[in-house]
Amino acid sequence: MRTAPATPANGPSIALPLAFVLTGLAALCAGVVWLVLQPGLLSTYHYNQDVIAVTHLFVLGWICTIIMGAMYQLVPVALETHLYSNKLGCAQFVFHLVGVAGMVWAFRARKMAALAHYASVFAFGVILFVYNMARTLRRTPRWNITASAVAASLFWISMAVTAGLSIAAAKCDYDPALALAPPAWIAAILRGLQSFGVYVAHFGAIRTMHAHAHLGGAGFFIMLIVGVSYKLVPMFTLSEVQSRARAVGSIILLNIGLAGSFLAILRHSPLESPFACVIVAALALYGWELAAILRARKRRALDWGVKYFLTAVALLLPVSALSLVLCWSGLPQNTFTGQLENLYGFLALIGVVTFAILGMLYKIVPFLVWFGQYSRLIGRVPVPSLPDLYSARLQSLGYRAFLIGLAATSEGILLSNETGVRIGCGFLALAVSTMALNVAGMLSHFFKPALPPAFKTSTPLKTA
């Protein structure tokens, strides 16, 4: 019996998305343990290197890694085409892994020069990713809402990475390198970076960082959640998009709101609130359409994967409310406001994006395992179905633990209570453990396939 993930000729790769998914899950486990050990990162407000390191572990190591891996799997399905290049994806994985691991280390160790190098490695991986996805988009036989959202998200992640590199450029000290009298062209590059760094620095470190986070969080993550769910939620609930105008409207408004908010945050403009309202309006349209899709569904029972995802979408409500409060110009700058900012970031990244990803992972990983191990045996031998690959009890436990963890951590953040944050993150760690156990169980099918005993002992199957 062959145990390696199978990929038919010219077929979609199983190994590439799985590599991203497993790396992302490892980062999530590390991040949650980090918060349990150091709850002060959330219970107090400060922009220190540890906070930035753990944030990048979650944002790049967990969320970005998973989303990129999921896109290698889902975008060809959603756009009805094949991935442009699997090899480019594999190359990106190496740059991504080295870049992200190095960045998190460099943030924590306060090594700014090394940070710039690792950030460049990561950025090169993103360039490969964007190019690969853009070429895949060009192959799509018909342009649809999801394709528009994917295209927009590629633009916004490019902007987010550019903004991040700009922040790094502004923090670097170029004088020691210039003092070494490098060749003229290197000196010109260094002086150019120095001037650009001075320009970026005049916006202020906190504003630049908020604008950068906004581009990545709302531009890449939320844009994809919205766009891809117009394809996947109907697919998993047996329904259809009910109003194309509503769906298109949500994507257009989201893009307008993102562009305006980015500039308004950067320039500390009074237009920050109006543009935040545009984003909230886009999300309201999205919620309206999603509710209509669900009402029209033919499959009445929702599985746990869909429940995780929809609960995450519902959490956009408190996150949107917090965003409107935080961009109000009359908000006093005090300790509690700082905690509200922590809560906003926590609920957006862990409550919405992480919960949504966990739900989608319960669709993606079983399919990858099932497709890689069993699809070639269909019609020749009874094969297990997708729900046979994981434990619904663990899913249920994980769902409850995640919600308790979110509530307890949120309360701990608001009350600046370190113990509350630690307990809440403990529950989140429990939820993550249930996911890890289920994923381990699914992967075990590559080594111990669930097949009739007579077939297990037979010679490897020869394909036609």
Binding site: P8, A9, N10, G11, P12, P76, V77, E80, T81, H82, P141, R142, M235, F236, L238, K298, R299, F367, W370, F371, S375, R376, I378, G379, R380, V383, L386, T463, A464
Partner: protein, 75 residues
């Protein structure tokens, strides 16, 4: 599944992934020599095509006016 002379029809619409893939591949496994299988799906069957190629079948997929897809499969 409908059989009509040398034509086998499989309607795999209204099924959650990966059931359409499984249903069509099960039908393909018992497809008589010389027969054609017409499989109807809600989505373009990207994963199916690779599996069919691996099993020595040729397939052509066409989008229908109602936004469903018909894939014609021959050995």
């Amino acid at each position: 599944m409908n059989n009509n002379n040398n034509m086998v029809e499989v309607d795999a619409r209204g099924l959650m992934p990966p059931h359409p893939l499984a249903k069509i591949l099960e039908a393909v496994a018992v497809l008589p020599p010389g027969a054609e299988l017409r499989a109807r799906t809600d989505w373009r069957p990207i994963h199916l095509l690779a599996q069919l190629e691996q099993r020595g079948f040729t397939a052509v997929t066409e989008e229908q006016p109602d936004a469903s897809f018909i894939t014609r499969i021959r050995r």
